[in-house]
């Protein structure tokens, strides 16, 4: 499913019909189609959220984007350079870490940044200072990475991605394993990099709140297939409902159906979730319910709408897995 893929910006990362089939022994279940005909586009300036449950194929896709894994078919282009044809030019525009950032523990944080930057053409001392400043590692850069905490390693991973300054930042689960403080720091850093530095960020995560707070576009992947792609604002407009807490859910549901033509599903503890509609606003619903003598304890936009959308779409794949290709996304041409 694609929701408003129109975008005025310039395409920076394009994945077209990416497929990866891993060969396995017959007694291990035969070939595994980890990614299946996947297409999406991240535009310059986007913070692109790449969502999917564990085993959906997110890391395999990211590895194909970065040239670590060769696609069975399909192509990836970064800034107009295809990975298959001109891998080095494509990767010159990217700073990335996959899964967890890895460093040489016996070297200092600064030395790690310095030597990794050599592989990308080198970075000046001032650039290294800037990356350390951005990631809040100033003052700790001369300590060996072996003594760094998990959060510091994550931040060092982002610092390494920034050297030399890339166009596109690919971050795979950057807040994985962090405590709430660490998560908040990384989120603030991503906001700064996208806002102040104008970087395009491709963020893989299964933390939906994180994606909702940070991203302007998302793609949801399940079992290697693209389930949903679009601008977050448009998805919110289409899928975010209203949560109604009332002691008379049956009466409220009937009123909403008869008066506004809205479908209402029962939620937890005498609440209803009302499907969204462009033509009806919350105040009109509230007025109608009160007029009908139905007590309204709470009426507010749905909070966990992205989680619901994610769970609905990813779980529904299980039951429809063997059916026809109805869940296959229709891609842009």
């Amino acid at each position: 499913m694609q929701v408003n893929t129109q975008h005025s910006g310039e395409a920076l990362l394009v994945a077209e019909n990416l497929t990866k089939v891993f060969r396995r022994r017959p007694n291990c279940g035969g070939a595994l189609r980890a990614v299946d005909n996947l297409s999406f586009t991240a535009y310059r300036g986007d913070v692109f959220g790449f969502l999917g449950p564990n085993g959906a194929g997110k890391s395999t896709t990211i590895r194909m984007i970065l040239g670590l894994i060769y696609p069975t078919s399909g192509r990836v282009a970064i800034g107009g350079h295809t990975l298959a044809g001109d891998r080095l030019s494509a990767l010159r525009q990217v700073g990335a870490f996959v899964e967890a950032p890895s460093f040489y523990p016996y070297l200092t944080g600064r030395k790690n940044l310095e030597i990794f930057s050599w592989l990308s053409g080198g970075a000046r001392e001032a650039e290294i200072d800037w990356a350390l400043e951005m990631t809040g590692l100033r003052g700790r850069e001369l300590e060996r990475v072996a003594v760094y905490s998990h959060g510091m390693k994550q931040r060092l991973g982002i610092a390494a991605c920034l050297l030399p300054r890339p166009e596109l930042l690919v971050l795979d689960e950057p807040t994985d394993g962090l405590d709430p403080h660490g998560i908040r720091e990384i989120r603030e850093l991503i906001v700064r990099l996208a806002g102040e530095e104008g970087l395009t960020i491709f963020l893989s995560s299964h933390m939906l709140g994180e994606v909702e707070n940070l991203c302007n576009r998302i793609a949801i992947l399940d079992r290697g297939r693209l389930i949903l792609e679009g601008q977050l604002a448009e998805l919110e407009r289409r899928f975010r409902g209203v949560e109604l807490a009332t002691s008379q859910p049956a009466e409220a549901a009937a009123l909403l159906r008869d008066r506004f033509g809205l479908a209402a599903q029962p939620g937890d503890r005498q609440s209803l979730r009302v499907s969204p509609s462009n033509s009806v606003d919350i105040s009109a619903i509230n007025a109608a319910l009160v007029q009908a003598g139905i007590s309204v304890r709470a009426l507010a936009p749905e909070t966990a709408w992205l989680e619901r959308l994610f769970l609905e779409h990813t779980s529904s794949m299980e039951s429809q897995n063997t059916k026809s290709e109805t869940r296959r996304p229709e891609h842009e041409t």
Partner: protein, 292 residues
């Protein structure tokens, strides 16, 4: 080679060198060699080469005085055998295993490969640094052996029992004292060439597997199996086809007369093995999916 490629290779070499230098395990072979050579010198002092005298006597080579055959060169040449057949290959295998499989296991290999550096150049850079490391270890071993040997036991003609030096012939070879330093340099260079082939083989194995332990086990198993075949008396016809035969050609530097023809043939073989192992390593590494 384009200037950009050259710059990039230089960057890879700097990168690999800083990593190698910073790793404490890099320096362990030098410490081990120092300990072992010191032990050899101590033992030689203690036993006064009695065993060697008996061996020479067995081959009906009678020296009037022990000093005629016991000297620093004698100790160096005979100690090179176990050091270059077993110890240095283990050090090289460990270093190369850490360079690819070790990095794959640690996750730093993917951190390198998401950067704009070609896999071929990265592997080539690793091999060049590894070759330099092999050269340094071999040089250190020989300088230490010869240095401590000469300091403790002096110089003199080098008498070696041929049976210990890979040609299977009985008897004693004699190298005049003045020629020995040159022979040692030749032996060092030839032994290093052999170690480079082993380094290329180890890189090939390391490129195929994602576990460091597996890389060590497979490489050493191949090397030791070939060494066993080489040492087996009834398989002499097989020897020219074994890469270890050519790796051990440095031993001929301690014969009375150096068979230069055989050494050239071995050098050609070693170059062939090196190219084949390295080309296979690059080919496999370029095509491999990095899943670790």
């Amino acid at each position: 080679m384009k200037p950009e490629m050259f710059l990039s290779l230089r960057a890879v070499l700097r990168f690999e060198w800083v990593k190698l230098r910073g790793r404490s395990i890099t320096w362990v072979p030098f410490l081990m060699l120092t300990i072992i050579v010191a032990l050899i010198v101590t033992v030689c002092h203690h036993v006064q080469f009695i065993h060697a005298k008996a061996l020479f006597a067995r081959f009906q080579v009678i020296f009037r005085r022990k000093e005629e055959f016991v000297n620093g060169y004698h100790m160096t040449a005979h100690a090179m055998n176990p050091i270059f057949q077993l110890l240095v290959p283990i050090f090289i295998t460990v270093a190369s295993g850490l360079m690819v499989a070790g990095e794959a296991e640690q996750g730093t290999l993917r951190a390198c490969l998401v950067r704009p550096v070609s896999r071929r150049r990265l592997l080539l850079g690793k091999f060049i640094i590894l070759a330099g490391y092999a050269l340094a270890i071999s040089c250190f071993a020989i300088v230490l052996l010869a240095g401590l040997g000469v300091l403790n036991f002096g110089t003199g003609n080098l008498y070696t029992l041929n049976i210990f030096f890979s040609n299977g012939q009985e008897g004693v070879s004699t190298v005049p004292a003045a020629e020995v330093p040159l022979r040692l340099v030749m032996a060092w260079l030839l032994a290093t060439a052999g170690m480079m082939v082993l380094a290329a083989l180890a890189l090939l194995i390391s490129s195929l597997v994602e576990s460091t332990a597996m890389a060590y086990v497979v490489t050493l198993s191949i090397y030791l199996s070939f060494l066993t075949l080489h040492s087996f008396p009834f398989l002499e016809w097989l020897r020219p086809y074994l890469f270890v035969t050519h790796m051990l050609r440095w031993q001929q530097c301690f014969y009375s007369y150096v068979k230069t023809g055989e050494i050239y043939v071995s050098l050609v073989h070693l170059a062939g093995y090196l190219t084949a192992f390295l080309a296979a390593a690059v080919l496999l590494f370029e095509q491999r999916d990095i899943k670790s």
